[in-house]
């Protein structure tokens, strides 16, 4: 499903080279749920961005869903991303659209037949417990609800892989727990999950394999 071999990512800040990731290698099998744990600045976000080709590695090989990611052309990148769901710490909901419209939007732009959209949107909202908030606008949602709406948007298109970049970063404990439960549910239904967090307690809560990043290096692979 995911395979990284000796991946380096170095950012240039003027003449200064700043390594964000150093010599990272690991594999994630289909159906696994893996937590990527590390403090802020450890390289979690950069690593996820490499997986959906928002960034290119400075060195090394990356394979996701059978694709040689760095070698993909623009059109192939779009095709790869159709199989990947991504959620962020800030939910990135479209402010002028309701929760329903936010979820439906991605289905519309991906050409989902019209008759399938409403059932799929409501199925996704039901799974994240937001059916009753379908007509609410993002500004009317709590942070936890916004994050659940973002998860609904990601799962409505049934991705093979879910990349979650600190989705609980700005949530209190109970809201974070709800999000973790939803992620567990998504994984239980067969989606491979890579969940990045700086909270060791949440990493442990998933009771799954955890990759520990420290200053851009993979220091431990446990579970």
């Amino acid at each position: 499903m995911i395979e990284l071999h000796r991946v380096w990512k170095v950012f240039s800040v003027g003449p200064v080279k700043v390594p964000a990731l150093s010599d990272i290698s690991f594999r994630v099998a289909k159906g696994e749920c893996v937590t990527l744990h590390g403090a802020s600045g450890a390289g979690k976000t950069t690593l996820l961005r490499l997986l959906y080709r928002e960034e290119l590695p400075t060195e090394g090989d990356i394979e996701v869903l059978g694709c040689d990611v760095p070698a993909l052309r623009v059109r192939e990148v779009a095709a790869l991303r159709r199989s990947i769901g991504v959620v962020f710490q800030d939910a990135k909901l479209l402010p002028g659209r309701t929760v329903y419209e936010n979820v439906a939007f991605v289905l519309r732009v991906l050409g989902t037949p019209r008759r399938e959209i409403t059932p799929r949107v409501f199925d996704a909202l039901r799974r994240v417990g937001l059916s009753a908030r379908a007509q609410a606008y993002p500004a009317q949602l709590s942070q936890g609800e916004a994050q659940r709406a973002a998860l609904a948007r990601a799962i409505a298109r049934k991705p093979l892989l879910l990349l979650a970049d600190e989705p609980t970063g700005s949530l209190d404990e109970s809201m974070a727990g709800e999000v973790i439960d939803i992620i567990k549910d998504i994984w239980a239904r067969g989606t491979t999950v890579l969940f990045a967090t700086h909270q060791a307690r949440l990493a442990a809560a998933l009771h799954q394999r955890t990759l520990h990043l420290l200053s851009g290096r993979l220091v431990k692979d446990e579970g």
């Binding site: 779009a78 990947i84 732009v109």
Partner: protein
Amino acid sequence: MLGFLIGEALRDLHRAGRVAVAAILLTTLSLAALGGFWLVSTNVGQAAEQWRDRVRITVFLKQEPSAAETDELVDRVQAMPGVAAVRYVSKSEALGTLKEVLGKDASVAEQLPTNPLPASLEVMLNEQGATPEGARGLITRLSELPETDEVSGGMDWVDRLARGRRLLDVIGLGIGAVLAVAAILTVTTLVLHLRRQELEIMRLVGAPELVVRLPLLLQGMLQGLLGAVMAIWVLIAVYALAGPHLEPLVNQTLGLERLTFLKPHTVVGLMLAGTMLGGFGGWLARGRTAP
């Protein structure tokens, strides 16, 4: 899908508020400037054409020919390339014309001991002769006639008028182009401002390129079309309000009885230009967001 994409374009335009109005107004300004120059150029061109039709070359003769010589001379000139018609003006006819012109002072002419006016040929030009090159060639040929004393008239000032019109066209296009670039940049910025978050989501979920690009293109085209329609209304208003006041001046200087508005195909051209301008801005917007 197309309905969804058009709906997206309209939705963003509605949401844009003042920014959309600014972009549309800038497009209006650029097209109104272009259309304004076009309007002036059209009227100057019409005056040039009108005067081109009235151009005469006068060939003053050394001496008055006999009737037979006159016929032979007229036939010879008539056969020259660029000549539409030739009229012989005798010395006495020229004097009669002078008296008509002098009106109540005609007695001055009657007191002359002899008629000092020369006989002449009035040469009217056809299409071939009514060009700067054609007129110059004809004047040369007429000057070489043994009967010719002097040749006057020609296309010089008509030519200057045509050059002035071309200059107006260049200035109009220049100003229009500068404003058009500003309009395109504004449309691009507006489109990006409006759809930044949608574009980010679209890119993240792997939306096909056409789906990303088409709303941007449609939105830009719609803004351009609105700008063009407004520019045409501005031109109509200016024409209706200022036209009656300008017509006496135009009549005295250019000899035009009425100012004419842009022709239908020019109006359609302006609308197409606006639509394409906006569409180009929308297209550029996608380029600026491409990964």
